[in-house]
Amino acid sequence: MAYNLKKELAKPERLAGGHRMCAGCGAPVAVRAVTRALKEEDKAVIGCATGCLEVSTFMYPYTAWKDSFIHNAFENAGATVSGVEAAHKALLRKGKIKDDYKFIAFGGDGGTADIGFQSLSGAMERGHDMVYVCYDNGAYMNTGIQRSSATPQYADTTTTPAGTVSDGKPQGRKDLAAIIANHNIPYVAQTTFIKNFKDMHEKSEKAIYTEGAAFMNVLAPCPRGWRYPAEDLMKMCELAVETCFWPLFEVVNGEWKLNYMPKNKLPIEEFLKPQGRFKHLFKKGNEHLIANIQADIDKRWEQLLVRCGEKSNIKETV
């Protein structure tokens, strides 16, 4: 059925207010968008890696989660939710429970791409019927903005500070969505908050209602870690997409598909400029650093276009 925001918003919210996330945080917006794709009548168990989202939404004796919820540790949301899913299968089979449940795990980029990477890989490879959502804010924000493997190149973080002899994080980003896609699971998507959330909603719906393991990589800006004005949340997402820093795509049963082609691909400066973590790049003499980022973005974008069949790879040699 065609996406209708009004209709979707008529459903009861699954994340209550009163949680302790920062004003303007992208993570709860991601949670609301994903869980909105659950059918109203469907039950779910939500799991969460340790991180901002977990400690702020489930601070004893208050939980913001309206569904059953489990937090275990930083690095094991994949394994934990696979355990819940296995229990569900067993208890249904034994007739001890009757209801069907959906299983969704949330983790930040640290809990997903780094410390929780093995646990996630195992859960995806085993094919548990679950969705793992990485809300990527590009650093370990919970502990105070330390670099992760998802931190963009040259970002100034508290463990890759820009200094007189440092340009910030030397390495580029790990391509998590592609890595998970290579697990040959039925559904992988990359998305973020754009306009009326159509892209994110449809992907969430597919991820939840695809049988087997599904993975979503969601850009979730962090005003504190990125150092931009909190009210610009949606603007940051839009710039990430329009500069091709964060392309929107999905991989359905191994088929790559581009979901959005910017009419005019914006230069990466547009995305970098509003963010304090890239301020040092705009000092005189650092133009080559921005050029490096642009070259990397362009390369990855071209590769994605080829993968998605938007462009033939004329240079390909085997």
Binding site: F69, I70, A73, N76, G83, A86, D99
Partner: protein
């Protein structure tokens, strides 16, 4: 009637698992516990159980999946050893503090390094403060009996704590010995079904598990957790009594062997206790008053009962199959000593570190220990209290 069988220790616990038919088993292979998930996955493959077996990619994920599964409302088992248990370490605490009665077969093996695949207790002793109930087993029979009882102790509403049932790697895990099995239906009736009060998949009542806990509440949660561990002692005895009614096999918090009138005693855990019993019988034939106390329930630690059982003894050797590297002795030594602190005319106590990394323990080695105890009784001089048994060393000048 009991079923006369011969099984290795690993097959014995796997058999208990099959008879109980848990909802979920999540495990990763590690020597010497590997056979347990192997046997179990064969039971799954042959339809002897309808358990969901989760072949995880590490022990860390094994314990993580166990936490998710047990919280979801499923009776969940696992098995591991050594480095595998160490890799689970963080999550062991979470399982316990979340009050999730997971049951684990812990097949004792030395911790690296250097890497060694043979028995000692450095693995489970390293987990002793994680909040798990720990039950130790001398033989395959005890490993089997203890596993069946552990599930009930763990799940008891006054306890609600995970339990590990320990036995010595290879020495009992891979040794085929006689065993008396209980009929499948009797085990099923004894253990019963798992019906937790609250669980994630309860459609009548949602549940949130694993909060961020501020200083305002954390300590109350810990104090409540301690109460579960305190209750474990009483519950273990209640369940042992029911078990005895079913099988005729008696279990307590610990076993006393010819201890009543003993002048010299050793305190010991797991398989070497059997070897020590042979040494005791031999020495008793020579008229020597020797005995032993074999600890079954190490967590919670039955300190008062142990002190009572040992108070008449003149000299005690506490036998540790792992070291604490505190320059004072092993973990069992510390516990037994503090249990006896304040006892009037407290016995003299020495500690022996023995059997590390599978160093074999012979009847003669135990006889040496008793000889040193009699020397202490004779001279009144305890001498060095922190000793190593059967270690090669330079002769004293």
């Amino acid at each position: 009637m009991a079923i006369r069988e011969r099984l290795s220790g690993n097959e014995a616990v796997a058999t208990a698992m099959r008879q109980i038919n848990p909802d979920v088993m999540a495990a990763f292979p590690i020597t010497p516990s590997t056979e347990v998930p192997q046997y179990f996955s064969k039971y799954v493959a042959d339809g002897l159980v309808d358990t969901e077996f989760v072949p995880v990619e590490s022990e860390h994920s094994a314990m993580s999946a166990c936490v998710g599964s047990q919280a979801a409302g499923a009776r969940t088992f696992t098995a591991t050893s050594s480095c595998g248990l160490a890799l689970m370490h963080e999550i062991l605490y979470i399982a316990a503090s979340n009050r999730l009665p997971i049951t684990m077969a812990a097949i004792n093996r030395a911790l690296s390094g250097p890497i060694n695949i043979n028995a000692d207790h450095s693995d489970t002793m390293g987990s002793r403060d994680a909040g798990w109930i720990q039950i130790y087993s001398e033989s395959n029979q005890e490993a089997y009996d203890n596993f069946i009882q552990a599930v009930r102790i763990a799940e008891h509403k006054d306890v609600r704590l995970p339990a590990m049932v320990c036995q010595d790697g290879f020495i009992t895990s891979h040794a085929v010995e006689n065993i008396e099995l209980i009929e499948d239906d009797k085990v099923k009736d004894f253990v019963g079904e798992y019906y937790p009060e609250n669980y994630l998949l309860n459609s009548d009542q949602n549940l949130s598990v694993g909060p961020y806990d501020s200083p305002a509440f954390y300590m109350e949660h810990k104090r409540l957790q301690v109460e579960g561990m305190r209750n474990a002692k009483r519950v273990a005895l209640e369940i042992a009594e029911q078990f005895e009614k079913m099988t005729g096999r008696k279990y307590g918090l610990f076993e006393e062997y010819r201890l009543d009138d003993a002048d010299a005693a050793i305190v010991i855990i797991n398989s070497a206790a059997g070897t020590a019993k042979d040494a005791i019988d031999k020495l008793r034939e020579e008229g020597k008053k020797v005995g032993l106390l074999k600890i079954r329930l190490f967590r919670s630690f039955p300190a008062e009962e142990i002190a009572e059982a040992l108070k008449h003894v003149k000299a005690i050797a506490v036998m540790d199959r792992s070291d604490s590297f505190n320059n004072q002795g092993g973990p069992l030594n510390a516990e037994v000593k503090s249990a006896l602190y304040g006892t009037e005319n407290a016995p003299k106590i020495i500690n022996y570190i023995y059997g590390l990394g599978g160093r074999d323990v012979k009847v003669e080695n135990i006889e040496e220990v008793y000889a040193s105890l009699f020397e202490i009784i004779k001279t009144g001089n305890t001498g060095e209290t922190y000793r190593y048994l059967s270690v090669r060393e330079q002769e004293a000048q």
